[in-house]
Symmetry: C2
Subunit: 250 residues, 2 copies
Amino acid sequence: MTYCAGILVRDGLVMIADTRTNAGLDNISTFRKLHLFECPGERSIALATAGNLSISQSVISFLHEGVENPETGEVETLLQAPTMFRAAQLVGRAVHKVRVVNGKSLDEAGVKFDVSILVGGQIKGGAPRLFMLYAAGNFIECGVETPYLQIGEHKYGKPILDRAITFDTSLDDALKLGLISMDSTMRSNLGVGLPIDIVTMRRDALAPELVHRIEAGEPYFHDLRERWSAALRAAHIAIPKPPYRPAPRS
Amino acid sequence: MTYCAGILVRDGLVMIADTRTNAGLDNISTFRKLHLFECPGERSIALATAGNLSISQSVISFLHEGVENPETGEVETLLQAPTMFRAAQLVGRAVHKVRVVNGKSLDEAGVKFDVSILVGGQIKGGAPRLFMLYAAGNFIECGVETPYLQIGEHKYGKPILDRAITFDTSLDDALKLGLISMDSTMRSNLGVGLPIDIVTMRRDALAPELVHRIEAGEPYFHDLRERWSAALRAAHIAIPKPPYRPAPRS
C-alpha cells in the first residue's frame, strides 16, 4: 500500500509520500515514491506515485528519458514541458506508453494496470498547480474549494484534511496537517510506513523550499504523533457525556 | 453506503449505525440498519447491517420467522438461541438461506452478494459478545485487544477508535467515541448520514440501557461535532511548526 497527499495553498505546495511497498503481505520493502524534477529558478515539479511499483517506476523513467508528443513528433521530458498542464499531459502520455509496452503482458499475468500519480509544481510564468492522474492517463486538477488531493490508502487520513485545510492555510501548517494525516494512516494501516518523504515549494520560488526524508525515530515527527494522540484523548475527554437516557418503553 | 460500529468494553456494549442507503448515486433513502431482538431479563441482541439492503432485510426477516437448524431439524429464531455463539451461527444460516433463495438470481442480474453484519449482545448465563459476519455466513469475534468491530465505510472512523478505545473505556465514553467515529465518517463520505441509531447494553442488565435515534439538528450531537472540530483545530495549532530547514544542496 501507499499513502501520498498533495496540498495546494495560497503560499505554495506540499507533497508527502510514504515509502512502504509490499508484494503480497509478507514482502515489505522501502522504495521512493516522491520524485523531483527541477531546474532552479525555472521550474520545480514533484511526482508522488501509488499503485504497481513496476508501472510507476517505468513512468518516472520515461519522464526522464522523454516521451514522444504525438502532435509534434518531438520527444519531450518533464524538464521541457512549457506549463504544468502540459506537464500533467506528458505524465499521462508516459502512463499510456507503459500500458502500450506492458499492458498486454500484465493482463495475461492477471495483474491489474494500477497506477495513480500526483503531479504538483510550478513552471515560470504560471501558478503552482496540482493534478491527480488515473491509470488511463486522464487527470483532475486541485482547486481552492478542496485544496488537496490524495492517492493510495486515502480514507484514514482524509478527515483531518477535510476539517482543517483551507486555501489560506500557511505552508508550515499544511505540512504539519499533512504529517498528521500521514500519521493517522500509518496507525490504522500497516501497509503505509516510515520513512516519509516530503517536498515543499513556496509560490514563485521556482525551487523546492524543503526536500526531506523523515526516518523512524526522528524527534519532531515522534513528538507530533505523541502530541496529536494526547490532544485527541484530551479532546474526547473534554466532550460532555451523552445525555441520552432510556425512554419509558412499552 | 453504510457505517456501523460495535464497541465491546468491560462495562458492556455499544452499537451504532447510520441510516443512509443509496441505490446508485442519486437514489438516497433512510432505512433502519440497527435491529434489536430482546427479551428483557433474559437476552438483548442487536444486529447492525451493511451491504445490499434487500439481502440484509431478508436476513432480519428470517431471524424473526426462524431458520431451520440442519442438525436438529428445528426452526429457530434469534430469541431462542441458547448462547451468543449460537446466535451468530443462526445469523450465518440466515445469510446462507438468503443466498440459497436469491443468490442465483442476483448473480444472473450481475448483483454482488454483498452483506456484512455485526451481532452483539448478551444472553443469560453468558458474557456480552460481539461478532462480525461476512457474506459467506462465517464470522469473527471481537476480543479485548481490539475491542471494536466495524462494517461498511470503516476507514474514516477507524483512527479515533484505534487511538482511544480500550476494553477499560467506560460505556459512556465508548458511545461518545463511537459518535466521534461516526462524525468523522459522515464528514468525509456523503454516503453515510443522519439519522444515527444507537443501542447500548450494560453488562448483565440483559436489556438495552439505551435505544435512541439521533436526528438531524439534535443538540448534543451537533455540539459534539462542533467541539470535536474545534478541539482538532486547537490540537494541530498547538503542535510546533516543522523544524525542517533546507539543507545545503549541490
